[in-house]
Structures are given as structure tokens and as C-alpha cells.
């Protein structure tokens, strides 16, 4: 390729990008990624806290695995879930706690109460995108420093199940990204309650408590009675925790793998739309206190 050709291809690429994104949008995209980067770095700063959280989750992983082993006894497989699968399940759920932050997130709520939200709403970056950026940075940091080491240590203690093919690994990563989006959209919605009530913390505790059960975090859904498992699977909670783990364990192949991912996409779209609707209504009636 000559220098001229290279130049031309660069130009074409540039024009192409220019076609989909206006200059303004590009600035916003940069702001979005900068938000992720800053939040990611902040998460990595808390080394002691991360390490202490890691140890805690690991210990709970051992507890859950022990309970499952005691339950299985001589059985090798229950409802398609092998004992190795169940142990892997216990490790994965604990590894994902930090990444998904599914049960404890009141950050946005606090900004409503202390008035910080006033300046956040004035930011040129869309309020939803701003928090998505913050939370994505946090999730990435958590994944790197907490989820990954935890699972690696966990594998040293138990015989576990790993994805068998590159396709399965790919599907798992995709499923994790979707899970993060669902998790964020759900937590954002719970936090939006603060626009209406001074005691959104109570609502949050209840909402997050329910998701703890329905997501299959406490016990693998495969061990639930059929009817309950089916309900849990189609909730956004099951889609956040249970589905990525099913993909990891190779429970879904071909068609059911696609089904899993489609359920997740459905929840991403639904929850994000709902978030925007509720946010639009909330902003109109928001009275900012303090300052």
C-alpha cells in the first residue's frame, strides 16, 4: 500500500465516523468514556477494601459450596446440574457480587438527598449515561481486582466446570455485559424512587432483598421446584445472575443459548426505556434540597 492509498483509506474511515456521529455527539462519547475511566481508577484505589471484600466473598463461596456438597451427598446430578456445576455456581455467584453490585447501590439516591444531583443534571452528558459511565467503571474495576482473583483462588480448592469452546466463552462475555446493563438499569430504577419519597432507602432494601432470592444468588435455580425456577428465570433478576452462569456452565447450547441472550436483550431494552420514562417524570417534579 502506498502512502497515498493509506491516506485515502484513513480519510474514508474518518468520513465514515463523521457520518454517524456529529461533532457534538463525539464530544459526548469522549465524556462518557472519560467518566468510565475515572470511575475505574477510583475503584482500583481502594485496595484494602477490595481485598477485604474479596476475602469475604471467597469465604461465603466456601460456605455455599459446603452446603451444596452436603445436600448432594451421593447424587452426581440434580435436574441437569452436576455437583461440579453446583460448586462452580457457588464460586461464580460470589465472584460476581462485586462486579454486578446487585444488592447494594444507593449512590445515585444519596445525590438526590444531598443536592449534588442539581449539578449532575446540568452536565451536558445525559444523566442516565453519566451514571452508566460511573457504574461501568466501577464494575470493570471490581471485575479486575475482585471477581477475577476470587474465581482463580476458588478454582484451586474445587474441581470446577469451565466453558468448553471459544464460542461459549464469547457468549459468556456477551451475557456478562448484558447482565451488567440489566443490573445497572434495575438499580437506577430503584434509586429513582428517591425523586418521590424521602425514604427510598427502605424501598431499596426491600427491592434488593427480593432480587437476592429471585436471581438465584442464594441457591441455584436448578434446585428450586420447577414452577419457581421458571418464574425466576424470566425476571430481570434471573437474567442478571442465573443466565450468565448457565451460559458459563454450558447448560444452554445453540437454540437455548440464543434464547438466554434474547431474554437478556429484552430486559435491557425494557428497563432502559422504563428508566427514561420514570426519569423524565421525576425530573419535572424534583425539588432539590440542601446545597
Amino acid at each position: 500500500m502506498t502512502a497515498g492509498q493509506l491516506d485515502q483509506s484513513n480519510m474514508i474511515k474518518f468520513n465514515f465516523v463523521h457520518l454517524i456521529l456529529s461533532r457534538h455527539q463525539k464530544t459526548l462519547m469522549n465524556a462518557f468514556f472519560a467518566t468510565i475511566r475515572i470511575s475505574f481508577r477510583r475503584q482500583l484505589t481502594y485496595r484494602a477494601a477490595n481485598l477485604s471484600g474479596l476475602a469475604t466473598n471467597l469465604m461465603f463461596g466456601f460456605f455455599r459450596a459446603s452446603v451444596l456438597i452436603a445436600l448432594y451427598q451421593e447424587e452426581t446430578s440434580i435436574n441437569g446440574l452436576s455437583i461440579q456445576g453446583a460448586i462452580t455456581y457457588a464460586g461464580l455467584t460470589q465472584a460476581l457480587i462485586g462486579f454486578l453490585s446487585f444488592f447494594h447501590w444507593y449512590e445515585m439516591m444519596h445525590t438526590v438527598y444531598d443536592g449534588q444531583i442539581g449539578s449532575d443534571l446540568l452536565k451536558p452528558l445525559n444523566f442516565f449515561l453519566y451514571w452508566l459511565g460511573v457504574d461501568t467503571g466501577r464494575a470493570l474495576g471490581s471485575f479486575l481486582i475482585r471477581s477475577l482473583p476470587l474465581f482463580l483462588v476458588f478454582t484451586c480448592f474445587y474441581d470446577i466446570v469451565l466453558p468448553q469452546s471459544l464460542l461459549q466463552w464469547g457468549a459468556f462475555i456477551l451475557s456478562m455485559i448484558l447482565a451488567h446493563l440489566i443490573s445497572f438499569a434495575w438499580r437506577f430504577m430503584v434509586n429513582l424512587a428517591a425523586f418521590w419519597t424521602p425514604n427510598a432507602l427502605g424501598i431499596g432494601r426491600f427491592a434488593f432483598g427480593l432480587s437476592w432470592i429471585f436471581s438465584g444468588f442464594f441457591m441455584p435455580l436448578a434446585l428450586f421446584p420447577e414452577w419457581l425456577a421458571e418464574i425466576c428465570q424470566v425476571t430481570p433478576f434471573g437474567a442478571t445472575v442465573y443466565i450468565p452462569i448457565q451460559v458459563f456452565l454450558g447448560a444452554g447450547s445453540g437454540e437455548s443459548l440464543l434464547n438466554y441472550l434474547l431474554i437478556q436483550v429484552f430486559w435491557v431494552v425494557t428497563l432502559v426505556l422504563l428508566d427514561h420514562l420514570i426519569l423524565a417524570r421525576g425530573v419535572r417534579k424534583l425539588v432539590i434540597q440542601g446545597g
Partner: protein
């Protein structure tokens, strides 16, 4: 002493009154708490129905120990709210603890009266319900001693968990941040105490016997009360150590607490 106690009750009364300011919200939260906490047991029960027993224990037997543990933890979480290291850390960091030190009243008493989380009634109720369900399912040879031993056991557990909270709060004098790792012993402790503990690996059991003696407050006494055979073959007297362990833990914790207060240096903010 009497003055101190009346002061403590006064502090607690203020706490309770302020939390009852919005009665509907409060009641809903207590009910919500009961439902959410209770559903963990329901899920476990539904799962167990696939397997019949766990480590040779039936659902009723697990409910018995699970219920007592939840009840005691809920009680402790209410009475010892002031020492909850999740809340105590920020208190130290923001210098609010310094304010308490300036007052001419016993500091331990003040911290005890500084917080009283009434919504824990939900967890207490939930524990009681599970415990009663367990009682209705089991057939034990009841003696007067066994019946009397149950409340003693529960009080011992309250002291045990309370001691862990006090130790946790004390560590924040140095760390300023809550140490999540302590959850292994508090919340983790209450979790493994809810199961027949012989199902856990030896290493975990040793930690919860010699480092944090949880096993004396749940597994050994329950083996005795329910008349189970113990695969660990522990000597029989271990069943009766619960109150001594509870009191000893509290004394150690208070000692550590006083040491912490004496060596406390404010953050200066």
C-alpha cells in the same frame, strides 16, 4: 448506675420515637424485612425438599437452629446497633464520636444508646416463626433443663454476636473504614451457625471453634437438645459451654473496646 440506666433508656426512647414518626413506612419496612429474610429459609426449604436431609438433619431440625440464630442476630442487631461497624465507621470519620467523648457520661453507654434500629423487629419475628415451625416438626425428649436452656442459648448468641460488633467497631478507631472482612465472622458466622456445622470442611470448622467459637453456641447445644448423633464425636460437656463462651466473649470485647477508646486519636476533621 441508676442514673446511667435511666439515661440509656431515655436515649433509646428518643431513637424509637423518631423511627416511629412515619408509622406506615415503618410497618411496611418491618413486614418487608420479615418477608425478604424469611424467603431465604423458604428457598432453602424448597431446595431441601429435593434431597430429604442435609448432613442427616431434617428440615424441622435445621429450622430449629436457623430460627434461634436469626432471632438472636436480629435481637443483637437491634440492641447493639450503636456498635454496628457499618455505621460506627462514618461516626468516627465525621468526628461525631469526639462529641460523645466530651460528654460526662460513660462512653460505652452513649454508643449503645446512639442507635437502635427498630426495623430489626422484622428479622426477630422471622426468626421466631422459623423457630416455632421447627419446634412443631421435631420430636425431642423434652426435659425442664432443655426448655430452660433454649432462652439461655439465645441470650448467649446475642452476647456472642454483640461482642463481634463491639470488636468490629473498635477496629474502626484505627482503620477509619469498616472492614468488610469482619462480615465473615458476623454475617458469615450467623450463616454457618444456621446449618448443622459438621457439614463444613475441617479448616472452616476449626476457625469457628477456636478463633471465633461459634460452634459452642449453635451446633453442640442443638445436638444435645435434639438428641442427634454427632459425627464430630465432641465430648458432651461442649453442649453446655454456650453461656460461658458468650460472657467470656463479651468481657474480651469490652476490654478491647476500652483499649481502643483509650488509644483513640481523632481524625481531626
Amino acid at each position: 448506675m441508676r442514673r446511667s440506666l435511666s439515661l440509656l433508656f431515655r436515649l433509646l426512647r428518643i431513637q424509637i420515637r423518631s423511627q416511629l414518626q412515619y408509622p406506615t413506612s415503618f410497618i411496611l419496612e418491618v413486614i418487608g424485612n420479615t418477608v425478604v429474610m424469611g424467603s431465604f429459609f423458604v428457598v432453602f426449604a424448597l431446595t431441601l425438599s429435593r434431597f430429604e436431609n442435609i448432613g442427616g438433619w431434617t428440615l424441622g431440625e435445621v429450622a430449629f437452629i436457623w430460627g434461634i440464630t436469626e432471632f438472636s442476630f436480629g435481637m443483637m442487631d437491634m440492641v447493639f446497633s450503636g456498635f454496628d461497624y457499618d455505621a460506627f465507621g462514618p461516626m468516627v470519620r465525621k468526628g461525631q464520636f469526639d462529641q460523645l467523648l466530651l460528654r460526662p457520661v460513660n462512653i460505652t453507654l452513649q454508643v449503645l444508646g446512639s442507635r437502635f434500629v427498630l426495623r430489626n423487629l422484622g428479622k426477630i419475628m422471622e426468626g421466631l416463626i422459623i423457630f416455632l415451625y421447627g419446634l412443631s416438626q421435631i420430636e425431642a425428649h423434652w426435659t425442664v433443663f432443655k426448655v430452660l436452656y433454649i432462652p439461655i442459648l439465645s441470650i448467649s448468641q446475642v452476647l456472642f454476636f454483640g461482642s463481634l460488633f463491639i470488636i468490629g467497631a473498635t477496629t474502626t478507631f484505627w482503620t477509619m473504614e469498616r472492614l468488610e472482612i469482619l462480615n465473615i465472622f458476623t454475617y458469615g458466622g450467623s450463616e454457618i451457625m444456621s446449618y448443622p456445622m459438621h457439614i463444613f470442611p475441617r479448616a472452616i470448622r476449626l476457625v469457628f471453634t477456636f478463633l471465633v467459637p461459634a460452634i459452642f453456641l449453635s451446633y453442640f447445644p442443638t445436638v444435645f437438645i435434639l438428641g442427634k448423633t454427632d459425627p464430630l464425636n465432641a465430648p458432651e460437656f461442649t453442649a453446655f459451654l454456650a453461656p460461658f463462651v458468650g460472657i467470656a466473649m463479651l468481657l474480651i470485647a469490652l476490654r478491647f473496646w476500652r483499649f481502643g477508646v483509650r488509644n483513640y486519636q481523632s481524625t481531626g476533621s
